[in-house]
Amino acid sequence: MSEQTQFVRQATLKSEDKSHFEKINKAIRTYHQAVEKGQSDVFKDWQAARRVAAQIKEQALLQLPELLIQFEANIKKQGAQVLWAKDGHEALGYVWNIFKENQAELAIKAKTMVAEEIHLNQFLQGQGIELWETDLGELIVQLAGERPYHIVTPAMHKSLKEISELFQKKIGIPPTESAETLTQAARHFLRDKFIRSAIGITGANFLIADAGAIVMTENEGNGSLCMTLPKTHIVLAGIEKIIPKLTDLSLFLPLLAVSGTGQQLTSYNSIVWGPKQVHEVDGPEKMYVILIDNGRSKLYRSERFRESLRCIRCGACLNACPVYRTVGGHTYGTTYQGPIGALITPFLRGMREWFHLPYASSLCGACRDVCPVQIDIHHLLLEHRKMAVEGNFSGIIWKAIMKLWVILMMRRAVLNFLRPVIFFLTHYGTFLLPSDIKKHIPKLSPMSFEGEWRKKS
């Protein structure tokens, strides 16, 4: 089944699922209240903050190669190794070498979307490695055998009851309705994995060029454990994560926190300059930073689409999107869901298979208005559609309809001549179409405005 067919099938199922809608929209309502408060509590001028953040990211993208080299040179000085992966395959190869070198059989992982993107979990499990997600939401998704539902809140689609049942089955706890008890159970379950793991894998929210440091923000403290307890720390990061200066964090940390969850600042913010230094007692002995391209340089090379690499993965566009709120995260079949997913997935994974996502938008623009780095998402989706037509992906029927439409629109006489036929078709000819499409076909009025005007004057 093609990606498009799967999307339409899933989307149709979810569109009719009222309890899904209620659950997701309740969570998103709470999110929006928090964000509104967060924006006004932290920023005197939220719009100005967005503008500055967009400028900094844009500048960084213009000097992307230079900044990445600067980052590499600086973090190497502090003893970390930097590996450059052109795609997921290469990144997984690096990861596997590190596992082999360390004879690691057990590893812990913090929440990172780029690991999802390169299918790290499936790969390592296929190699016989025991890998545990340590972020609570990610652990829930892992135990359920699913993929993240949302780039920030991966288990947003699970109710307390569902999580309780899952934990009863998978980690053998008694039934409970308390979120606190469930969290404690997860902590308890993970504790010895933290202690026994030889390798900790994390992502990075930012790579800082001038400091040669990686930054990770999280709310649970599990990420800090992943990068400090095991002897080896692997960082997976997309190349677009670069920001020029350490001081840029004063804007980007609150910006990400507010847009992601409505918090003024995420609970734990770690800046890591490298592995354990000679004078230090704690920390990993080895640190590897794997810089992953995996299609990003295609976006980088496109002048029009480059701005999509500004994305800081806050998830605000998902929460604002009425399509996401209807179909939910899994329907997309992508690592990155919602508007940003529709924007970047065709570049990361191929136009031919994914061009339907830019079409699956009503172009309402709510995504652009909430984006903290002002990515012009919905206008770029229009550019995608243009490319889909130019690449002949969008189907011959639409091409024919458009040709006919031009003929009708260019000459009033032709339009008026054919009007009775179109009138008849829109009123009596739609029985051939599926009922859900049928209702969306406009029915022509007996007389056009032009006809009425002519009659009166």
Partner: protein
């Protein structure tokens, strides 16, 4: 006596072919407010259906036709935020790099507010009235207060503002045909927001949104009127 200012109508394809009454209502209101209204029957469409679908070369052909017809017109008024946004904003994207001169086109509520005509509006309408923003007028043209400024001039009705950012009705042009299930669920979600407030009349400024919402109302057999702002005014002003 000073001669009445001339306004050229831009009648979107959907109004021309499906909802001529919206165009007629707009003409009546504009005339009642003292404008001389003219209409060029060669006009058809702004080109948005093809533009949104990615068929930019067809869109350009129709857009050029539109530009040619409105060349030199001093003031153009349209009963659609979406078509206005297409001409004013999206033509720049469509013709990127090519020189085009964009005519002075205004969405109906925007035009009345800009001209200070709201003071001349008075009327009566009974019911609980809500307003549905078309996304293009709200987020492309940034019209927020304008429709309400006009609605407030009508007495007898209770005007209810919905909290939070307005959400899309799910029309999105060809989106509703390509993804009818999603579009239908979005319309339902939007309508529910109005129903929760016991609103009985929804006014909007875009024929596309109105079509989408009316379909949903019909399917659910609701007793809820969906009116274009022009229709609402022509009723309230007893034109």
């Amino acid at each position: 006596m000073e001669s009445s200012p001339v306004v050229s109508l831009f009648i979107p394809c959907l109004v021309d072919q499906v909802y001529p009454e919206m165009g007629i209502a707009m003409t009546q209101v504009l005339r009642a407010l003292g404008y001389c209204v003219e209409y060029d029957s060669r006009q058809s469409c702004c080109g948005q259906p093809a533009f949104n679908a990615g068929h930019w070369s067809e869109a350009k052909t129709v857009a050029r036709h539109c530009l040619q017809i409105f060349q030199g017109k001093e003031i153009i008024v349209s009963p659609s935020g979406s078509c206005t946004a297409m001409v004013r904003k999206f033509y720049q994207q469509l013709f990127s790099g090519e020189p085009v001169s964009i005519p002075a086109i205004y969405e109906f509520s925007e035009f009345l507010c800009m001209r200070g005509d709201t003071a001349k509006i008075s009327g009566n309408f009974s019911g609980r009235v809500g307003f549905h923003y078309s996304c293009h007028s709200y987020r492309e043209l940034r019209l927020k207060q304008e429709p309400f400024e006009i609605l407030r001039k009508i007495s007898g009705c209770e005007l209810i503002e919905l909290p939070g950012e307005p959400i899309c009705c799910g029309f999105g042009g060809l989106f509703s045909i390509k993804f009818p299930a999603i579009a239908g669920a979005m319309a339902e979600a939007r309508l529910n927001q109005f129903l929760e407030k016991n609103i009985d009349t929804i006014v909007s400024n875009d024929p596309g949104c109105i079509m989408q919402l009316r379909q949903e109302v019909k399917e659910r057999r609701l007793t809820l009127a969906i009116l274009h702002l022009t229709e609402f005014l022509s009723k309230a002003m007893k034109l």
